[in-house]
Subunit: 342 residues, 3 copies
């Protein structure tokens, strides 16, 4: 892949300052780029590398485009322009051509045009794959599930039965969609299984990372909206609803029947308890636990801030005395107030 | 599947009030049920839907059975009756008939009657499968492992060698049983591997969710009691013992050699440190960390409660001053006490 | 496997006190060992079993070698000697002889001498496997990836394309190496995918547990140093660097572009935010969150300490009042100081 700076700027809808004929062969960081590569400035942490970069061109905001030693691609949103540039240079090898002879595709399955199905993949009864889907090696698609067009299931993904996905859904290896929700009724000290009779519905333009879980509904479906993005090792329990554009970072989790609104963000290892409702635009901080519904957009957090271990031990000990400390402050206030009366 | 209300009530051992001949074709929530479906009231959150439900019948406690607009199935434990109703309506497609031609079953393995083994499953040397087991597509059972009767391993499960399971064990996709425990001896700045020579024993009526891990013992076995239920993404380290009826919610973890008693419950992402002992009936709160053994049943927790981010920041800053705050309270008390002496 | 005590002591470079001809057939704990087995004392918790053990021999420090009722293998580091003893008694069945007929190995792949490739494993285009590698059943190695000598990939591991590993790397089942990092640029309420163009480099003598994730770099590689050890369900995000000898316990996570120095230890479910730098020798406590870079070795923690639930609720309520409590203490101090002036 190579592209001239003029073509790249044109593709990005950005202004070009510098040699329009320069050939770009890759994308890199300000620190590591060479003269045939394009770099970008989106995070202030890396501004220090802007003047000393060896990049052939940099993607920058207008206010950063002055005094550069290389060509500039000028745009109000360099990070977005960078994302689109990476798409031009995508180097992922595609899943094997056509249907690999070792794949097991049920006779009742419908496979769209130009699909690629990898070695040892298993496509169940009555499955429907849209056009141009890629099903990685060892991936299993359960009976009656349906994928839209242009979906990519990487290797060793597991999709249970009765899962429905829209178009352009990407699911990474090890992820499991549609396993049973964790539902059991207590019966005199024993757990009685509640069969999970619902399914999973996933919208368009969704990406789910590796080794994540989206459970099927107990009754009715678990719902993942359009353009939801989910990282690795994330738990989405049965009958959860995730609104459009919501993002869950690695190791985050949402318990059963909870609804997140649109454009919510859960930071790494954040958790939300079951049967709650979070409005649109809620941000949950890293490793924070939400145990009550939220009706005001904005950030929410739990936990404490990083301390050296020996200081932390003292503070943690005092935390256990907090109620007593609060009562002693009240007592002191009362004593002083009474003194004042004297 | 369809069943008359009379048959359903009979199956549940519950009292029927209403049309005994009504045909029930499914189970649903109070909110979503239609006139051919049975719904239930077990969680107070959903009481508001009881009067307006379109369900053909509802499963309720005696005190909720008055004044309903539909038939009632009356039982002291509606949630349990609901669980048993879902079992009647189970719609899971079974793993392929018999042994799929692409499955790799070692000649030395013993496969019980009426087992189903899916496409590309791998059954190792000397494995023993009881009767009526289902082994999903792509699942691997390691050498010398033994499963009892009626076990279900969903697709892409991995069971290492020397794992023993009782009857009616269900393990969901992506879960790994018997991987090496995390054991290394430090040697002048290097980690020396401790081979994990033990195995895993799992009792009867156990369910383990998706993408969980139960490690093999270093010496001796990791032990999972009867009727233990484990959710997704859960870590059970080497030589852990989980007592009968214990439950671990998603993303919970127990570190090496720790013993949990019977009927313990770990909430989502709760953790227990290694080499501890928890008595029967301990509940560990969401995302809480247990670092000392527990000999009294009841609930335990760590962490703080949800706050808007800007208020949380202030409190978190003050947490770092807690030890100093406690000393200042002491100082104030001392000063006031000395004033009192004057 | 059996070995005389003399041979075992010789192998360990340790002093033998007792019957040199005693035959040892296994290794066990002090509590469970029988007269043909060797046990060890490394953790003070188990000292109580030293006098009553039925072991044929025990591995102990010189100061613990007196007055024993069995033979002693005396060494300054019993835990290390134990580790080496377990290696002698390793009982893991090896992956099938040679290349299993059902494995799919690309014609362009290079397979070293004495490799074992299990049933239904998939080896992609241009993959290079060093000598004596074991590739478990159902494991998928993506195009262009390279493994050094003596690597063990257990069953159902997924390695994406362009991953490079040194020698003696062990990766347990369900783990995913090289999935896309979680990179998206916001664009007017939509997430635009940043293609992850980098790869993963893993050093020598690395072990990674089950169901963990090491993402590929966005630009440039994610780097795992030599002798790094990683437990189950661990997240290593894109462009993370882990220094030599660093250890991550189960459910720990490191966010994107963060660098950990050498010999760091992350306890269970500890987390580090993105774009940070931790120096060598940092220990992060269980379930603690690091949100700022660290330049001093030592322990760091967040969170609070275990409390009974009802006491915890009071303390958690007071935590929300902490800022107000601090201000009231200041006010009290001021009042008392003013009194003093009178």
């Amino acid at each position: 892949m190579q592209i001239s700076l003029a073509e790249l700027a044109g593709h990005l809808g950005a202004e070009l300052r510098g040699d329009a004929n320069l050939t770009i062969t890759g994308v890199s960081t300000l620190k590591d780029a060479d003269s045939g590569e394009v770099a970008f400035l989106a995070n202030e942490t890396y501004r220090k590398y802007l003047q000393e970069t060896s990049a052939g061109a940099v993607i920058v905001r207008p206010e950063d485009a002055e005094g550069l030693t290389c060509a500039a691609i000028v745009t109000p949103n360099p990070y977005l322009a960078f994302a689109r540039t990476t798409q031009l240079f995508d180097n992922r090898p595609k899943t094997s051509d056509g249907i690999h002879p070792s794949a097991q595709v049920a006779a009742s399955a419908t496979v769209g045009d130009e699909c690629r199905i990898g070695a040892n993949a298993v496509i169940g009864e009555n499955v429907v794959l849209g056009n141009r889907c890629e099903i990685g090696a060892g991936t299993v698609i359960g009976d009656h599930s349906r994928l839209g067009d242009d979906c990519i299931m990487y290797a060793n993904v597991t999709v249970y039965h009765d899962v429905r996905m829209g178009d352009r859904v990407r699911i990474h290896s090890g992820t499991v969609i549609g396993a049973d929700g964790f539902g059991f009724a207590p019966d005199k000290g024993r757990w009685e299984k509640i069969m999970q009779l619902g399914g999973v519905q996933i919208g368009n333009d969704v990406e789910i990372g590796a080794n994540s879980c989206v459970d099927r509904g107990a009754l009715g479906d678990t719902l993942i909206g359009d353009n939801v993005i989910i990282d690795n090792l994330v738990q989405v329990a049965h009958n959860v609803e995730l609104g459009d554009g919501t993002a869950m970072a690695s190791q985050a989790g949402v318990a059963g029947s909870t609804k997140l609104g649109k454009h919510c963000v859960m930071a790494g290892n954040a958790g939300v308890a079951g049967h709650l409702e979070l409005c649109d635009g809620v941000f949950v901080g890293p490793k924070s636990v939400i145990s009550k519904s939220i009706s005001e957009p904005g950030g929410y957090a739990t936990g404490t801030a990083q301390m050296p271990m020996n200081e932390w031990r003292k503070a943690a000990t005092r935390f256990r005395q907090l109620d007593s400390m609060a009562r002693r402050i009240q007592q002191l206030e009362k004593q002083l107030k009474e003194q004042g009366k004297d």
